[in-house]
């Protein structure tokens, strides 16, 4: 079985990074075949930028794009009148590697398919909040 490398990035490490620094921090790792697990999420503009940058970086024979998954929690506003979703974990990996098995608002299960021909699979993450 081949190796799978996962990079966990804390929110502190991302705090002072610019949007483009964050995007390239993710893309460069994912292009090497790593799975990036980030504490927190990207802004909507950063998510759009991640898609744009991914499209520019696609090399049809070696890198076909990314898969992005998030886990969210309900946050109540300051006055407690409204609820909104806040991303607590963002997972980005190579699209040809990751396969979602099950996704709900508070549960995510994925399999990393390291070798499609041999169906060699690693149970990547089962997370329940």
């Amino acid at each position: 079985m081949e190796e799978l490398k996962m990079d966990f990035i804390s929110s502190d490490a991302l705090e002072n990074a610019t949007s483009m620094e964050k995007i390239y921090m993710i893309i460069e790792r994912v292009k090497k075949g790593n799975i990036v697990v980030m504490d927190g999420g990207l802004t909507p503009a950063e998510r759009a930028e991640l898609i744009e940058t991914t499209m520019r970086e696609i090399d049809i024979d070696n890198f076909v794009g990314v898969d992005v998954h998030t886990l969210e929690k309900d946050s109540t506003s300051f006055f407690g009148f409204s609820k909104k979703k806040t991303v607590v974990i963002t997972i980005v990996g190579p699209a040809n590697l990751m396969k979602t098995v099950k996704k709900q608002s508070n549960f995510l299960s994925m399999v990393a398919n390291l070798n499609k021909s041999s169906n060699d699979k690693i149970n990547l993450m089962d997370k329940i909040k």
Binding site: T43, P44, A45, R47, A48, L50, I51, E52, T54, M55, R56, I58, I60, V64, G65, V66, D67, V68, H69, T70, A95, N96, K103, S105
Partner: protein
């Protein structure tokens, strides 16, 4: 003269409604754009197919007017390529394309996705087309909605393909309860009148 052109463009842009059709590949954006264009302009604007990324460049139909009683909505239709986080040419081989065609389609699709995202700067309203036979919690739907909310662009979610027996528009309503969701079949024209009513209400 340059100042005059600038002022004309500036005010002209403010008054002009450009409604973008956004969504994942194969959600039925071009089918819906064709339905709207055919109903109100008498002609289609693009070709649709079962092969993902059939629309790889932005298609535009200008000066469309839809009417409901004494109310009218004038706008341009901006049919955008489907937004995805991955484009694998091997997926196109399953639809009978040869390798060169598939690779070429993949290259064009990546450019189309960038173009679609750039158009978010210019659209003044959006129809987000979601295939109601699939999971609506896809990252691309969440990214599009997040960007529309952040930019304060009004939008309607068209829960498409309700003619399909696997369709579950209620799932889309439950996932996005704070947004307007209209179940439709762009292909069969089912419930399309309600979408037109909501467009006049939301975008007028």
């Amino acid at each position: 003269m340059a100042w005059f052109d600038f002022i004309k463009r500036f005010f002209g842009k403010k008054n002009k409604m450009s409604i973008g059709l956004y969504g994942n590949p194969n959600s039925g954006k071009t089918t819906l754009a064709n339905k709207i264009s055919k109903d109100w302009m008498g002609k289609e604007i693009g070709s649709s197919s079962n092969i993902p990324h059939e629309t790889r460049t932005v298609l535009k139909e200008e000066k469309v007017t839809i009417k409901e009683g004494n109310k009218e909505l004038d706008f341009d239709i901006i049919d955008t390529p489907g937004i995805a986080t991955k484009v694998d040419y091997q997926n196109f081989l399953e639809y009978g394309l040869d390798e060169d065609e598939a690779k070429n389609r993949a290259k064009e699709a990546t450019k189309g996705i960038i173009e679609a995202i750039k158009w978010l700067d210019d659209v003044t309203g959006v129809l987000l087309v979601i295939d109601s036979t699939t999971d609506p919690l896809m990252d691309t739907n969440i990214t599009i909605i997040g960007n529309l909310e952040a930019r304060k662009i009004p939008f309607i979610i068209a829960a498409n393909k309700i003619d399909d027996e696997k369709s579950n528009p209620n799932r889309i309503v439950s996932v996005f309860p704070q947004h307007t969701v209209i179940p439709i079949s762009a292909l069969k024209g089912k419930n399309i009148e309600n979408l037109y009513k909501e467009m006049i209400k939301k975008f007028k």
